[in-house]
C-alpha cells in the first residue's frame, strides 16, 4: 500500500509501468466499484463480471490517462459506461429506468425501517430502500456514498448536467429519508 500518494499520482505511476501503484489503487477502490455495480445490477455474478471489465478498461487506458478530473470520477465514469453498455447490449429496460422520474414520484411504497431495529437492520432496510430507487437516483446516491463524489462529479461520471444530477440526488435522499423515518407499515 502507498497510503500517502494521491490516486492521480498512483495512476500516472502505473501508466509509467509501476505495477505496485496499480495494486494500491485497486486496494483503495475495488470495494466501492464492486458495490456500485452490485447496487446497479442487483446481481453479484454480473457485478463481478462487469467489475473485471472496468478494471481491464482502466488497465488499457493507463497510457492515455491525464489527471484532468479526480481519479474516482474517472474510475466511476468507466464503471458507468460499462454498465450502460451492458444494459444496452442486453436490451434491458434498465435504460428506461435511468430516465428521471417525475417530481411527484415520492417513494411512498418504499420499505420502511423498523424504528426499533438494530443498526444492522436499519442498514438492511436502507439497502432495500436503495434497491427500490429508480436506477438514476440510486446511481447518484451510490456514487455519492461509495465514490465520495460531489454533485458536479456525479454529473460528470454519469454524463448529465449538474442540475439533473442534483435533482436525482435530492429525490434519492428524500425517498431514503422517508423510508428510514416512516414507521413500518402494517
Amino acid at each position: 500500500m502507498e497510503p500517502g500518494r494521491p490516486d492521480e499520482e498512483l495512476m500516472l505511476a502505473y501508466g509509467a509501468g509501476d505495477a505496485a501503484a496499480f495494486d494500491a489503487l485497486y486496494a483503495r477502490h475495488k470495494g466501492a466499484v464492486l458495490r456500485y455495480l452490485r447496487r446497479q445490477t442487483g446481481n453479484a455474478a454480473l457485478a463481478e463480471e462487469l467489475f473485471q471489465d472496468v478494471w481491464l478498461k482502466l488497465i488499457d487506458a493507463r497510457a492515455g490517462y491525464e489527471p484532468r478530473a479526480k481519479f474516482t470520477t474517472w474510475l466511476f465514469t468507466i464503471a458507468h459506461n460499462r454498465l450502460m453498455d451492458h444494459f444496452r447490449s442486453n436490451a434491458r429496460a434498465a435504460v428506461v429506468s435511468y430516465e428521471d422520474d417525475p417530481a411527484e414520484d415520492v417513494a411512498t411504497d418504499l420499505p420502511r425501517p423498523d424504528q426499533t431495529a438494530e443498526r444492522r437492520e436499519t442498514a438492511a432496510q436502507l439497502l432495500a430502500a436503495i434497491d427500490a430507487l429508480p436506477a438514476a437516483q440510486r446511481e447518484a446516491f451510490v456514487l455519492q456514498q461509495e465514490g465520495e463524489l460531489s454533485v458536479e462529479e456525479i454529473a460528470q461520471a454519469t454524463g448529465v448536467n449538474r442540475e439533473t444530477a442534483k435533482s436525482r440526488l435530492r429525490y434519492a435522499l428524500t425517498k431514503l429519508r422517508a423510508a428510514l423515518r416512516e414507521p413500518e407499515r402494517t
Partner: protein
C-alpha cells in the same frame, strides 16, 4: 460543490453499516495479474509465457548477428569510401608523376594528363595498372610493413604522414599542386608537412623527363607560377630602368650628358629615339637644332 441539504449524516451513517462487499480473492488475483502483464512485470499464463518465449527467442537469436552484420557493413562501406576519397587525389597526382617506385623510364613515357581533366580521368579512364595501384597502396603502409629499403625515405615519410584534412577534400588540381610541390621540393629531414617552396635540387629522372614529354600546357599551375615568380625580378628591373630614363625630360638630360661627354653619335641616336617615342614633345632649343 455538494449542497449541505444533499448530504444526510443519518443516511451516511446507515449506509456505512451496510455490508462492505469485496471482490473474491481469485478475481483480485486475476485483475492484478492482468495489470502486471500490461506493464510487463507480472506472472503470465503458460500460454502467454510460451508465446513470449517464442517471440523473445527469435529476437534474441537474431539481435546480435544482425547488429554485428549491420556494423560490419557500415564499417566496410565507410572504409571503402574513405579509401576512394584518399586514392582519388593520389591517383590523379600520381598519374602526373609518381615519386614512388615507378621506373623512371616507364614513368617518363607516360604523358602527364592536363590538370583540368584529372578528375574525369580518374573516373573514365581505364584503371591504372595493377602494379601501380599496389605501389600506391604499399606507399600508404607503414614503413615497417614494407621490407625493401626506402630509396627515397623522405618521400615515404611524407606518404606515411597523415594528410591534412583539407587535402582529401580539396580539388584534384590542389592535390596535383601539392604533389608537384613535394616533387620539386623534397621535404627536409625533419619533414614538416607543407614544406615551403624550395630550390629544386637533383630531381629524379622521371621528374626531369616529365616536362619534355608533357604536352604544351601540361605544366602544372604552380610550376608555371614558380617560373613566373622567378622571372619577375629581372623583368621588373628591366622595365623599371627604361621607364626612369625615358621620361622626356630625363631623356633630354641623358642626351645632354652624352654630348658633354663627346659621345655625339650616341646622343644623336638617343635624340632620334626620343623623337620617335615622343613625337609631340617640345624639344629644348639646344637639342632642336
Amino acid at each position: 460543490m455538494t449542497d449541505p441539504d444533499l448530504r444526510d449524516p443519518n443516511l451516511d451513517r446507515a449506509y456505512r453499516e451496510t455490508p462492505r462487499d469485496e471482490p473474491p480473492p481469485e478475481l483480485d488475483a486475476r485483475i492484478r495479474a492482468a495489470a502486471r502483464r500490461a506493464v510487463g512485470t507480472g506472472p503470465q499464463s503458460l500460454e502467454q509465457q510460451a508465446a513470449d518465449a517464442r517471440r523473445r527467442s527469435w529476437t534474441s537469436r537474431w539481435r546480435l548477428p544482425l547488429s554485428v552484420a549491420a556494423t560490419v557493413v557500415i564499417a566496410a562501406t565507410l572504409t571503402v569510401m574513405m579509401q576512394e576519397e584518399e586514392r582519388r587525389p593520389r591517383d590523379d597526382a600520381g598519374r602526373g608523376a609518381s615519386p614512388m617506385k615507378v621506373e623512371p623510364a616507364r614513368e617518363a613515357e607516360r604523358p602527364a594528363p592536363p590538370p583540368a581533366s584529372a578528375p574525369d580521368a580518374a573516373h573514365s579512364a581505364p584503371a591504372a595498372p595493377a602494379p601501380r595501384s599496389r605501389e600506391l597502396e604499399s606507399a600508404r603502409q607503414p614503413a615497417a610493413a614494407r621490407p625493401e629499403p626506402a630509396p627515397q625515405p623522405k618521400l615515404e615519410e611524407r606518404a606515411r604522414s597523415p594528410e591534412p584534412p583539407a587535402a582529401a577534400d580539396s580539388a584534384p588540381s590542389a592535390a596535383t599542386q601539392r604533389l608537384e610541390n613535394r616533387q620539386q621540393a623534397p621535404v627536409p629531414a625533419a619533414a614538416a608537412p607543407p614544406a615551403p617552396p624550395a630550390p629544386i635540387p637533383a630531381q629524379p629522372p622521371a621528374l626531369k623527363a616529365m616536362p619534355q614529354t608533357a604536352p604544351a600546357g601540361a605544366a602544372s599551375e604552380p610550376l608555371r607560377r614558380d617560373r613566373t615568380l622567378g622571372d619577375r625580378p629581372a623583368r621588373a628591373s628591366r622595365e623599371a630602368a627604361p621607364a626612369a630614363i625615358r621620361t622626356p625630360e630625363a631623356w633630354v638630360e641623358h642626351i645632354r650628358t652624352l654630348r658633354v661627354q663627346g659621345r655625339e653619335a650616341e646622343a644623336t641616336a638617343e635624340l632620334a629615339e626620343l623623337r620617335r617615342a615622343y613625337p609631340d614633345f617640345q624639344l629644348p632649343p639646344d637639342l632642336a637644332r
